[in-house]
């Protein structure tokens, strides 16, 4: 079993003079599900992006570790999976082409069996060779999960994971969160109580504004 952790120290984020949140500190030292809640504009997406290494904090630190060693930012992208409504895949390619290219660019071996299983789980196997521009918004959201999970990441960040999904899609996501949380740190940012109910612990961003 891989030893991994996510440590956050005194995180602060401001955009100009607008303070989004301040003083967030927590440690996640084992696999599980961690929730981030708050009203619209409270900084959930901002926090998730900082945890995923996409944005930088104004103050504070985020440290991702694997096997006791800190993961440097240049290599972090191979350890994280990320899903959000504003993530966009290449719609001039098919789902299969998108996933193949992502594997090549990440320089990780393309696990054809795993990807087919994921496509089947998300009911996209029969449409894997169709261009993404022909997909509905729900299908695109499901494809993003496959993109996030195909390389077996240690840290999975889900921002509004059930947006655009029907009830069947939401159930698939909840089952996935449960199964992935046994071997990865899963962070879910959402307004939906049905998303946060699966979390071991929930951080309310309202408590981190001055």
């Amino acid at each position: 079993m891989t030893d991994f952790s996510l440590q956050i120290h005194s995180l602060q984020k401001s955009f100009g003079r607008r303070l989004v949140f301040n003083g967030i500190t927590f440690n996640l030292n084992k696999a599980g599900v961690f929730g981030v809640s708050g009203p619209n504009g409270s900084g959930k997406s901002t926090l998730i992006k900082i945890l995923a290494g996409i944005n930088s904090p104004t103050k504070g630190q985020v440290i991702h570790s694997s096997d006791g060693k800190e993961i440097i930012s240049e290599k972090l992208h191979n350890y994280i999976g990320f899903v959000s409504p504003y993530l966009v895949l290449y719609d001039e390619f098919s789902a299969w082409e998108n996933l193949t290219y992502f594997s090549s660019i990440r320089k990780i071996s393309f696990d054809k069996v795993k990807v087919e299983n994921l496509l089947d789980q998300f009911l996209l196997l029969s449409r894997k060779d169709d261009l993404v521009k022909a997909y509905s918004s729900g299908m695109k959201q499901r494809l993003k999960f496959i993109f996030a999970l195909m390389h077996s990441p240690l840290f999975i960040f889900l921002d509004e994971p059930t947006s655009n999904l029907d009830d069947e899609g939401k159930l698939t996501v909840y089952n996935l969160i449960q199964s992935e949380s046994k071997k990865a740190i899963v962070v879910v940012a959402s307004n939906e109580k049905s998303d946060l109910i699966h979390c071991d612990e929930v951080l309310d961003l309202n408590n981190y504004k001055v």
Binding site: H77, F82, L87, L89, E97, I105, R106
Partner: protein, 219 residues
């Protein structure tokens, strides 16, 4: 190799969307046509044809090389790239794409120029070849870096040539001079200083690009 895979993705995407190729092709045809019509039956000096040659190259680059990053930003796929590749991989992949695009574009321009302008006769082919190669490498590197800078800005179309002009000016001026030497048949030994300028420009720009790209790419 990761950067090569990114280049392949961009190349494949360009073949399907023709985002840059179409605008480049039209610009080259229009620019050369306008110059031809403006000149009419006048005889222009060989040196002037060399200068106009690099003018067409510069503005063709401005019309098409920003695509590498602007299309990612406009479609919203910049975040996807950040999630699958390090900044160095992204820059190298995009640079490879722009290098291929610049060389293809400028080979077409050179061939059209040679066919349509009787005064564009190269006496020193080796000097012209070296100018062509180093000049295009410099244009590709600078254009790629500037494209990354303006990709997140508004008024990208205006900002790209405005930012590119002062950065590319030393390269363009030296390349014009070297092309003039090549047309006049000046030996390489007498053009060594100018060749060294162009080569140093390429080395400085590639070093600066890799040092700065991390700050440009990440928020």
């Amino acid at each position: 190799m990761k950067s090569y895979a990114l280049f392949q993705k961009d190349f494949h995407s360009e073949l399907r969307t023709r985002y840059a190729i179409n605008s480049l092709a039209m610009f080259i045809i229009v620019a050369i046509s306008v110059i031809l019509f403006s000149i009419g039956n006048e005889n222009i000096s060989p040196g002037l044809t060399g200068g106009l040659f690099w003018v067409v190259i510069f503005f063709s680059a401005m019309s098409g090389l920003s695509r590498a990053f602007v299309s990612e930003e406009e479609r919203g796929t910049s975040l996807t790239l950040q999630l699958i590749a390090s900044p160095a991989t992204v820059f190298t992949g995009k640079l490879l794409f722009n290098l291929i695009l610049v060389f293809l574009m400028n080979i077409v321009i050179t061939l059209l120029y040679s066919m349509l302008f009787a005064e564009f006769i190269i006496q020193n082919y080796l000097l012209f070849f070296l100018t062509f190669v180093f000049g295009n490498i410099g244009i590709a590197i600078s254009s790629t870096l500037i494209a990354a800078i303006i990709a997140k800005a508004g008024s990208k179309g205006t900002l790209y040539p405005v930012l590119s002009f002062p950065i590319l000016l030393p390269l363009i001026l030296t390349s014009v001079k070297l092309t003039s030497f090549a047309i006049d048949g000046v030996p390489i030994s007498e053009a060594f200083f100018e060749l060294a300028i162009v080569l140093c420009y390429d080395i400085i720009m590639i070093s600066a690009s890799y040092m700065l790209f991390d700050f440009i790419w990440k928020d």
